[in-house]
Amino acid sequence: MEIVIIGAGKVGAEIVENLVAENHNIVVVDTDASALKHLMNEVDVMSVCGNGVLESIQTEAGVPKCDLVLAVTEHDETNIICCLVAKAIGAKRTIARVRDTDMSAQSEFMSKKLGIDLMVNPELESAEEISRMLRYPSADDVDCLNRGKIDLVALKIGLDSPIVGLQVKDLLEKVKVKVLICMIARGREIIIPDGSTVFEPGDIIHFTGAPQSIDAFFKKMGLSGNRVHSMIIVGGGRIAYYLAKSLFETGIKVKIIEKDEQVCLQLADQLPKATIVCGDGTDRNLLKQEGVEIVDSFVALTGNDEENIVLSLYAKSIGVGKVIAKSNNDSYADMLPMLNLGTIISPKTVTSEQIIKLTRAMQAPEDDSVISLYKLANDRAEAITFGVSDNENFVGKTIRDLHFKPGLLLTAIIRGRELVIPDGGTEIQADDIALVISANYKFTKLDDILD
């Protein structure tokens, strides 16, 4: 695709690096020449230096003939105007990064009347990402496929894990839970397992199943499968607001600690179900008072990365089960894994990942059977959902009868509202949606997966 990206900041740069690897033709627009130069030294893109809201600059960048414009500068208004201009001069689609709560609430109006096809809100995306992580506290990572219908859970196998040395089929017999192990990341290698694959220490296994089965699987593995029941959030920003709101639905008790009294009052007004505490979240006594030793999750969302990291180290040290810290600095995230302080979430990374996912979903596939495409395990594997509709190569056949190419796995079938984890005897019906995970191929058609 021809893509124009306006804004070469952290989000823009991350999007560019990912999309270039997928062979798109990209032009980046920014007012900062040195940021562009830096980017040009790293990736094969073209740059235009100038103000992206200007029609002349957009024309120079090739917006009139492009397939997609991504406006990801710091400012909501700039992004919105960029998209309006782009639409007016002929861009096919536009995506804007908009963080204003009110504006993102009227996204339907924006897309229908103003032509901004999608808006991505960094805070909202971050909150959703956190709540996803909380769904399975023992998981190392959770990928949500097909609009949240399928959870793909990643779990790292420790040295002393009971399953080391077991074969996949033995494990499933032992735990007697219906989950499907669909992918194993072993070092740099991605393995699509069959029944006889043996687990090794250090493997990261990815599996899927119905939510209850995944819970049960964690329990059988001796890991706490218990869901989170209570949480302390330090810092009452927008992420905290969105997070608290989405957690109420799952019945988690939320306590927010915020310094600013005005903000506290506002939050108390907006979130009547939450306990809002006005005070310094870095005060150990206050934290103890508010019960940091008895909650099972702790989220540090202050505006200061370092503060968040120290807070989460403290929470880990006193034994809180699930600890999450916000950090916008990527290099911290790289330095941090060795500290074992739980999960780091970066709103900018979350935003760019979300935009990249949306961009991939916009790609016109060769065949309309492809519904969506996801990248897994640092882009080394991909998950594709296909609509089977009435393809006679598939409909009415059992998995056993179909001859798949090696190195891929039909992981799940969505049938109406039901999630089916297939085994050899599962028969494919018309209008099923199939999720395929593969390590080596790039598929564009459903028939490609057959040998």
Binding site: N25, I26, N41, E42, D44
Partner: protein
């Protein structure tokens, strides 16, 4: 400096280089020159290049970091290796032929470096049996002569750029760094978002223009008995790369006015920044014509021609040929001016006989050179413009120290870094020039008895600016570079590569820091 990826990339380039030897081989077959030795002359270098390349690419590097430094290093090293391999066909094919017995591998390396760098200086000289180039043309070496001219064509737009245009794309910004290191001018941008796409567009324009010239020249075969399809190809390859190798010693002078005009126009066209042709294609004609560099280039040519014509027609009234008519003089001066400013080096007359003022004009033209981003050599019009403009602003600052000035080009403010880099380039260029002139002057045996200083200076100018002939009779259009000692020939070969790659890629090979891990 990431040596592993540099070596790996050089390996990939060498693997691709092997394919280029097919063209001269086919030519040899067409002209019935094929015998075992001629076959070996092209197959041995091809296999050598492919096998070295295969060895170097055996293990792909894990660390893929690639910056401007790696780009410069790869371009510098691969151009030297390409020139070394490119000399092999000459060496092997002429082995045992008594007409070429006085030439060895160093001479042929000079010839090959001269070819790839689009210089056009030659060590082929008048031997016992006549001029060696005519001996080649008539003696069954037409495939070899095609290879000689093909090196011009490949070197003009860039060997690596060609490989990038043809091979599947490399990831990351490595392509841009290679392209910037190989192409000419102070700043190189992309035409479209991918390097591969840019390389393809440039080579497409280049190829179409070359074919157009071949067709136009081939038409001349109707009335001109010296012209045939082979000559048309050789001349076009030499013009396109702004190199200057011809198939016979008589060069362009043996053909009629029509051929001379076609060659002259195409020399001027190949000296224009290729980005302008791209602007033409996408319909931005006004932007193309407005380009300051283009206008400067046209002005330099026009002023050069006028000054030369006036000087020559006034001073040389009693020389038979020039006295004949004003039009003959104009024909000579305009061809020479364009040939030297674009650094091609074709000649229709012996301009070493012209008066001193003309020699100075020619010297200035040789220095200025063609546009950046063209196939031509020299210091480049853009650089001269930037240099003059920034010098002017600096002078203004002396008068009014608190004033703030910016150097503009095409109405846009120039990045300070570019201005600085042009100034630096000028200083480095001068240092190399002076130092080389010093070295050449040691070789007193080759410098003749008269006009020694001019021979020294113009020989360095002719090689460093990729022009070809110098301004005195020894190295002029009817002279050659054979008489210099081997040390100086190697110096000239390096200078030619210096000039074509614009100094830094070769210069950095001499720095020990390049090879350290930090």
């Amino acid at each position: 400096m990431n040596l592993r990826i540099s070596i790996y990339t050089i390996g990939q380039i060498l693997k691709a280089l092997g394919a280029f030897f097919i063209l001269p081989l086919i030519t040899s077959i067409i002209y019935g020159e094929v015998h075992a030795q001629m076959l070996f002359a092209f197959i041995v270098p091809a296999l050598l290049s492919i096998s070295i390349g295969s060895v170097l690419t055996m293990r792909p590097p894990e660390d893929r970091t690639f910056y401007a430094k790696e780009g410069l290093f790869i371009v510098g090293v691969s151009w030297i290796i390409i020139s070394l391999i490119g000399a092999l066909p000459f060496s092997i094919a002429t082995l045992g032929d008594s007409n070429f017995a006085d030439l060895n591998y160093i001479d042929w390396f000079f010839e090959s470096a001269s070819g790839f760098s689009t210089t056009g200086s030659s060590i082929l000289h008048v031997g016992a049996n006549g001029n060696q180039i005519d001996l080649m043309f008539n003696g069954g070496y037409r495939g070899l002569l095609l290879w000689r001219s093909l090196t011009h064509w490949m070197g003009g737009m860039g060997v690596l750029l060609f490989i990038m245009a043809v091979l599947p794309s490399t990831s990351g910004a490595s392509g841009l760094h290679l392209m910037q290191a190989e192409s000419t001018g102070p700043s190189t941008g992309k035409l479209v978002s991918k390097v591969k796409g840019t390389a393809r567009i440039l080579y497409l324009i280049y190829t179409i223009m070359t074919i157009a010239e071949i067709i136009l020249l081939a038409f001349a075969a109707i009335g001109d008995e010296n012209m045939d399809f082979y000559q048309a190809i050789i001349l076009s390859l030499g013009t396109a790369g702004t190199g200057g190798f011809a198939a016979t010693s008589a060069s362009v002078g043996q053909f009629g006015l029509y051929v001379q005009i076609v060659v002259m126009v195409f020399m001027a066209l190949f000296g224009v920044n290729f980005n302008l042709y791209f602007l033409l294609i996408i319909g931005k004609i006004r932007d193309a014509i407005k380009s300051e560099e283009f206008r400067f280039y046209i002005a330099v040519i026009t002023i050069g021609i006028i000054a030369l014509t006036l000087n020559v027609s006034i001073a040389l009234t009693n020389v038979l040929d020039y006295a004949a008519s004003f039009w003959t003089t104009l024909q000579y001066t305009s061809f020479t001016a364009i040939s030297l400013v674009t650094s091609t080096g074709y000649a229709t007359c012996d301009f070493t006989l012209w008066p001193a003022f003309s020699t100075s004009i020619l010297f200035s033209l040789m220095f200025i050179g063609a546009c950046a981003g063209s196939t031509g050599g020299g210091f480049k019009c853009t650089r001269v413009l930037i240099l003059v403009k920034s010098a002017f602003k600096s002078c203004m600052k002396v008068i009014n120290p608190n004033a703030v000035y910016s150097v503009k080009m095409d109405g846009k403010k120039l990045d300070n870094e570019i201005v600085k880099s042009v100034n630096t380039y000028f200083v480095v260029y001068l240092l190399i020039f002076v130092f080389s002139a010093l070295l050449v002057s040691i070789d007193s045996a080759a410098l003749g008895t008269t006009n020694q200083t001019m021979t020294i200076i113009s020989s360095v100018m002719a090689t460093l600016n990729n022009i070809g002939p110098g301004l005195t009779s020894i190295i002029g259009p009817s002279g050659d570079f054979y008489s210099f000692s081997y040390g100086i020939k190697i110096l000239f070969s390096v200078l030619m590569l210096f000039g074509r790659l614009e100094i830094y890629p070769i210069l950095m090979l001499f720095s020990p820091k390049t090879y350290s891990r930090q």
